[in-house]
């Protein structure tokens, strides 16, 4: 249904869905890692802080996965966008207008989702512990 020659509302939301899933995954990974390692780390001890590297790597993997899904969706959207002879603004009640309108809208959402995923992942690059 998602990999489809025909553009639909499902293909339209594939990239934003990957973005949402990536956000949730990153949040849960960071929250559980911190909750587990910080449980007995005293706040003002000045001791070394529990290492977050595994969680950061996991977030990195999730980020690559999300960007992969978005890339695939982008490729498909490009195909849909080019699939027809309609003219912008694609607002006639024809198969080509529908196909190209959805393809173009999907493409824009892919761009937005890619930026969103990168912004969500950036804290994991800069922040190395749970303080």
């Amino acid at each position: 249904m998602i990999a489809s020659a025909r553009a639909s509302l499902i293909t339209l939301i594939a990239a934003p869905t990957a973005w949402a899933a990536h956000f949730l995954t990153s949040y849960v990974i960071a929250a559980t890692a911190c909750a587990k390692t910080m449980a007995d780390a005293r706040v003002f001890t000045g001791a070394a802080w529990p290492d977050l590297t595994p969680a950061r790597i996991a977030i990195g993997v999730a980020t690559l996965a999300a960007l992969g899904v978005i890339a695939l969706s982008t490729r498909q959207a490009l195909g849909h966008w080019r699939d027809g002879d309609a003219e912008p603004p694609y607002d006639d009640a024809t198969r080509d207008d529908r196909q190209q309108f959805l393809g173009y809208a999907t493409l824009l959402l892919c761009g937005l989702s890619a930026v969103g995923v990168v912004f969500v992942a950036l804290p994991a690059v800069f922040i190395g512990d749970c303080r």
């Binding site: 706040v43 003002f44 930026v115 950036l122 804290p123 690059v125 800069f126 303080r131």
Partner: protein
């Protein structure tokens, strides 16, 4: 930040004037697309990414340990309990005003015994919640001497809006001298102030307030050992003047609704004046 806001404001209004007054006729389609692409997509994405990276790069510093001095601040309805914990030397208890050395990263330990408050000194850093049963950390550095305003920024009850404080940043040497001087209680009062001390103790103020060097050792309300050195009264509600002290004691709840101090409407004016003279002398 103000400059940035000014630039953005001028740009937006400039474009609006250009589009409505200078060239109101339609533009070519290609120009429109280019404007959308560069102005609507590339520019905001790049600027936001740069700001995000810059901000995230600074964030770890806010959580790194300070340079030795730690100040515990407890937000209580509706005032601030302040405990200085220097790396060497005894802890010093105070309230409603925080002194910090200029140029040093000072670590704050933030908590609360009653409800959630939030600690915010806008000129020095972001706001951090003070949560019962938890200790939150914040590290701040004052770059310049001066007085900065702080405030409670989480609604905490009737007098939430009257729960503020001053942060006084002074040079390091002056700060060390000041902190060391806090170890000895202020010299005993004379004249009217001495009578004020007697009245202060007789009327039971010491059950809630501590004044080092006297029997007053209460811990319910703000420590008043150096009350006279504070610029403000009642968590930055009023200027610290004898008249305001007398008013605050006579009509506490009217000035600060739900404050956890009883009002003393029946104290004669001259007794209030003596108490005010005493409290003002505690420097």
């Amino acid at each position: 930040m103000a400059i940035g806001a000014g630039v953005v404001w001028c740009l937006v209004l400039g474009v609006a004037v250009y589009a409505t007054r200078i060239r109101p006729d339609p533009h070519e389609e290609a120009v429109g697309w280019r404007l959308i692409l560069w102005g609507g997509v590339v520019f905001p994405t790049v600027v936001l990414a740069a700001l995000l990276v810059f901000g995230l790069g600074l964030m770890p510093q806010l959580r790194e340990p300070g340079e030795g001095l730690r100040i515990d601040v407890s937000g209580e309805q509706f005032w601030w309990r302040v405990t200085y914990r220097p790396a060497d030397g005894p802890a010093v208890v105070s309230a409603n005003e925080i002194r910090v050395p200029v140029g040093e990263r000072v670590e704050f330990g933030l908590t609360s015994p009653d409800v959630i408050h939030a600690f915010w000194i806008p000129a020095l850093g972001g706001k951090v919640d003070m949560i019962p049963g938890r200790e939150n950390r914040l590290v701040l550095k004052a770059e310049k001497p001066g007085t900065y305003r702080g405030a409670c920024t989480e609604f905490c009850g009737a007098s939430h809006a009257l729960m503020a404080f001053d942060v006084v940043a002074i040079e390091k040497a002056a700060f060390s001298a000041w902190l060391a001087a806090q170890a000895t209680p202020p010299s005993p009062p004379e004249g009217e102030a001495a009578r004020g001390r007697e009245l202060f103790l007789r009327h039971g103020c010491g059950a809630c307030h501590r004044v080092a060097g006297t029997e007053a050792a209460g811990e319910v309300g703000p420590d008043l050992t150096r009350f006279g050195a504070r610029a403000t009264l009642g968590a930055a509600t009023l200027a610290n003047t004898p008249d305001n002290i007398a008013r605050f004691v006579r009509e506490t709840g009217a000035l600060k609704p739900r404050a956890k101090m009883p009002a003393y409407p029946n104290l004669p004016g001259e007794e209030l004046a003596a108490i005010a003279a005493y409290l003002g002398s505690l420097k």
